[in-house]
């Protein structure tokens, strides 16, 4: 296993985790519909449906961060320390999510159910948009510089420097927000489809969800196509890394479009992903009782996201372009961990199929019996 091979392998794993994370954001999508639900019974249904999966989304986010830290520490160091406010706001939205499920219906929760439902709503909307913004910077860049020599500057020993707005400039960049909004409506569409699959005894709610899936799916498609158009016409950086880890950077018009062509398998994966999402959405909305749409849109989402990560990182592309100093951009070559660490971590990654297998087994076992209002009234652990 060469270093180059390991870097490619770990970018693949990062893209897989990213794909799973975006799929699992259906939990946030469901939460974002909470305040619009007309009755307490329906809000309870939404929360208890989503609440049995929230830990998986949360854990995937943590593992995504941990894997990035382990495999591409320069990204972790540069992005988290630089886009400080972006990541802090993401964190805030996830802190309030974690406790809200457990506390919302418990006696003595001090602030009342509505407060916790509002927290879940905030996490559902803000979490999705800001994660979309964070991923968008992989394509449209960020305002930072990297200078390793700063390590020896006692007055300011930090190697990565960022614009003084520290992440707010990224949040209010309309290009980033396009993807953020697309992710929100994708999550809402998937949240509706998941509930159609998981809640059985309320035909009225089923039809409401169907409408929600169609409307949110439609908005998602518009924003996603907008994002794709921007992506394919964007100028990216083609980079090669020197032995001293400095970069040769060439600005390349239509870089990502070229990547989709050159990495034809990434383009094909995106196409299959988009078709699967559209199929799952449309069949769900125009059939009377079909509930398997979430699986098609889920797989489609996963495929589309991993293909986007591939064109961001492969084919000598800077996966974190610097808008202030192109030579400071991050690529999977100059931002990665050492060969030893990547190799050690690769051995650990052998457990991933086992992890996925037991998650799938548990998911199937738990969802075999669909959620009903009656179960909520009798269960010993209700959110």
């Amino acid at each position: 296993m060469t270093l180059e091979y390991l870097q490619n392998y770990w970018w693949l794993l990062i893209s897989v985790l990213g794909g799973i994370l975006v799929f699992l954001l259906f939990v946030q999508g469901g939460q974002s519909m909470l305040l619009g639900a007309p009755t307490k019974e329906r809000r309870d249904l939404i929360v208890n449906c989503m609440g049995r999966k929230w830990e998986l989304t949360f854990t995937t986010l943590v593992t995504f961060g941990g894997a990035f830290f382990a495999s591409f520490p320069l990204f972790y160091s540069t992005s988290f320390g630089g886009a400080y406010w972006l990541w802090i706001l993401i964190l805030f939205s996830f802190i309030v999510q974690a406790v809200s499920y457990e506390y919302r219906n418990k006696a003595g929760n001090v602030y009342g159910t509505k407060t916790y439902d509002t927290f879940l709503f905030i996490n559902g909307c803000v979490g999705c948009i800001l994660l979309g913004v964070a991923v968008s910077m992989f394509f449209f860049g960020a305002q930072f510089t990297v200078s390793r020599g700063n390590l020896l500057d006692p007055g300011s020993p930090v190697i990565s420097q960022w614009a003084s707005t520290h992440g707010f400039e990224a949040i209010f960049n309309w290009k980033n927000l396009i993807l953020g909004v697309a992710v929100l409506f994708l999550a809402r569409m998937q949240g509706a489809l998941y509930m159609m699959n998981n809640i059985t005894d309320d035909p009225d709610f089923f039809n409401t969800l169907k409408n929600k899936a169609l409307v949110n799916g439609g908005i998602f498609v518009v924003f996603f196509l907008w994002f794709l158009a921007m992506l394919c016409t964007a100028t990216g950086y083609t980079v090669t890394t020197n032995p001293d880890y400095s970069l040769n950077v060439v600005e390349t018009p239509f870089k990502y479009f070229h990547n989709f062509i050159h990495l034809w398998w990434a383009g094909l994966t995106l196409l299959i992903g988009v078709v699967a999402v559209l199929f799952g959405l449309l069949k769900s909305c125009f059939s009377n009782h079909w509930t398997k749409g979430i699986w098609f849109t889920g797989i489609g989402t996963f495929l589309a996201v991993i293909s986007l990560f591939w064109v961001a990182g492969y084919n000598d592309t800077a996966f974190y372009p610097s808008l202030l100093d192109p030579a400071s951009s991050l690529s999977i070559r100059n931002a990665s961990s050492s060969e030893f660490t990547l190799k050690a971590m690769s051995y650990v990654s052998i457990v991933i199929p086992f992890v996925l297998a037991y998650i799938a087994y548990v998911w199937k076992s738990m969802d075999k019996k669909k959620l009903t209002q009656e179960e909520l009234e009798t269960t010993s652990h209700k959110y």
Partner: protein, 522 residues
């Protein structure tokens, strides 16, 4: 950065705040999950509904606590990036691996099976449910393993070498991460969680006895919690002793600060209780303590398992004086010399960088050789005076005593609790014992937190021992940003904590009014 030290101080406060809040919930997760798993196993073995009722009672409290532990945990991981970005680059090649493994191996296990634990009743077989409960406990324990391995590595950095071309450390031995410090630290932390949960279970159960609700249930719970707590506490003490020996070897300055000891000696006594003199410094002649009760030979035994051994004090370490096993005085590297060598290592790294830019192979080789020689003192190169390299003595000294004194008290607590609970109606009749058990609960948290204060304040000023001080580990952010986020976190954590405590108390009150005495055992 024009306000470097303000950013450093507030970043430290923010991380300390997050860690202290996180550790309020984690030990209860580690221990209560075990207690619940044992109770559910007894249910499956005896088929008695009384154990099922007990399992569900404690599982509810586990769930309330679990969520907030998860919430505060994610912040800690991300704060390494947001507030300690230089650290993340400097040692990310080593430190990132345990965090990723933690997520992959432990978090998913915990997250997947905790859902079965809460919602799987009647949906999966009883055996699968029990397995899920044990796997939740295992996931939590494995998670602790990796984060504590990572923490221990910061205190005793091994298994890596410095790569001057990238200006960072790279791993060269994965298994070196499992050092003596790591093993002791892991066991010490996890077993202390068992002890804390034992105290919690006994305290809550005694409240039920006082209210005369479900007394047989309370007695059963005290037996399970008491034994797990006692075993946990004994193992905590054993591994604490191991930790002291490891600290003596690798962080002698921390040990000296824990003891408030400036001038060491052979057959060194230990201060059982005392007040350190706040005016004492390593280079003045003031007394070390305003008041102290010393136990002869105590520190020599604790530090080196030898009553006649020499234990150096702060001034000895600063001046580079130690005594070997034969009783001969030997010179170690003084702190002034370490600072000089540290600055030489910085110069060597600058020279290497310049030579690399000029493609001067010979100069690169020479600079690399110099750097290798001086690198063990790299972190000292950031200091201008010896005082910067000494940890806060008072906080470390008092925290250590709080931990040890309360830890010893809880040994007595468990012995008395178990003695009382196995004598017919003894605990039920002695209300004062019930009161003591209830009042003791918050002190166990104090004991547990004090342990972390010793570990983390005692290692200052280092983020990575000898290599990276906190002031070189930070992110390039404004002090206003960090101060704002500190207060945001402080408010939100407190808001959540108030809710958690309130819900816990209400759940205990509400659930204890149900009949938990059903017994259908055959």
């Amino acid at each position: 950065m024009d306000d470097l030290m303000t950013v450093v101080d507030w970043s430290r406060w923010q991380f300390a705040l997050t860690a202290i809040y996180h550790w309020l919930f984690v030990p209860l997760t580690l221990g209560l999950s075990l207690i619940v798993a044992v109770m559910e196993s007894l249910y499956l073995k005896t088929k008695s509904e009384k154990w099922l009722a007990a399992t569900k009672f404690w599982m509810t409290l586990f769930g309330i606590n679990f969520a907030i532990g998860v919430a505060t945990g994610i912040i800690l991981e991300f704060e390494f990036g947001t507030n300690w970005s230089n650290y993340s680059w400097f040692v990310g090649d080593i430190f990132g691996a345990p965090l990723a493994i933690e997520g992959l191996v432990a978090f998913f296990m915990e997250a997947t099976f905790v859902a079965v634990m809460f919602f799987g009743w009647g949906k999966v077989s009883p055996r699968f449910h029990l397995a899920s409960t044990w796997l939740t406990w295992l996931g939590a324990s494995i998670s602790a393993l990796w984060i504590l391995v990572a923490n221990a590595w910061m205190q005793y950095p091994v298994g890596m070498e410095f790569d001057p071309a990238q200006m960072r450390n790279v791993m060269d031995n994965f298994w070196a991460l499992f050092s003596g410090i790591a093993v002791n630290k892991y066991m010490h932390a996890v077993f202390s969680g068992w002890a804390l949960s034992g105290v919690f279970v006994i305290g809550v159960s005694c409240w039920l006895l006082m209210k005369k609700r479900n007394e047989a249930f309370a007695v059963r719970s005290i037996k399970v919690g008491g034994w797990i707590g006692l075993i946990g506490l004994l193992l905590t003490m054993w591994t604490g002793d191991g930790s002291a020996v490891e600290v003596t070897k690798h962080q002698p300055m921390k040990l000296a600060a824990m003891e408030g000891l400036y001038h060491g000696s052979t057959s060194q006594s230990i201060v059982a209780a005392g007040i350190v003199n706040p005016n004492k410094t390593w280079d003045n002649d003031e007394d070390e303590y305003i008041f102290d009760i010393a136990l002869p030979y105590g520190l020599s035994i604790l530090a080196k398992h030898d009553p006649s051994a020499f234990v150096p004090g702060i001034a000895d370490i600063v001046n580079g004086i130690d005594v070997n096993e034969n009783g001969d005085t030997i010179n170690t590297v003084s702190y002034a010399e370490r600072i000089r060598l540290g600055k030489l290592s910085h110069e060597a790294l600058r020279a290497y960088d310049l030579a690399r830019t000029n493609h001067d192979e010979a100069a690169m080789a020479k600079a690399a050789a110099d750097l290798k020689e001086y690198y063990p003192y790299f972190g000292y190169g950031y200091f201008d005076s010896v005082d910067e390299a000494i940890p806060p003595v008072g906080v470390t000294f008092y925290s250590f005593r709080v931990m040890v004194i309360l830890g010893s008290y809880f040994l007595l607590f468990f012995i008395v609790a178990l003695f009382a609970v196995y004598r017919k109606d003894w605990l039920q009749r002695h209300k004062w014992l019930q009161w003591i058990a209830i009042v003791s609960v918050p002190f166990m948290w104090m004991c547990s937190e004090a342990g972390w204060v010793v570990a983390e304040v005692g290692r200052q000023p280092w983020t990575v021992q000898d290599l990276l001080p906190t002031k070189a580990a930070i992110s390039e952010i404004s002090s206003a940003s960090v101060i704002t986020t500190f207060w945001l976190f402080a408010v939100i954590f407190t808001v959540i904590l108030v809710a958690e405590v309130s819900i816990m108390l209400r759940q205990i009150n509400k659930n204890s009014q149900k009949n938990l005495e059903i017994d259908n055992a055959h």
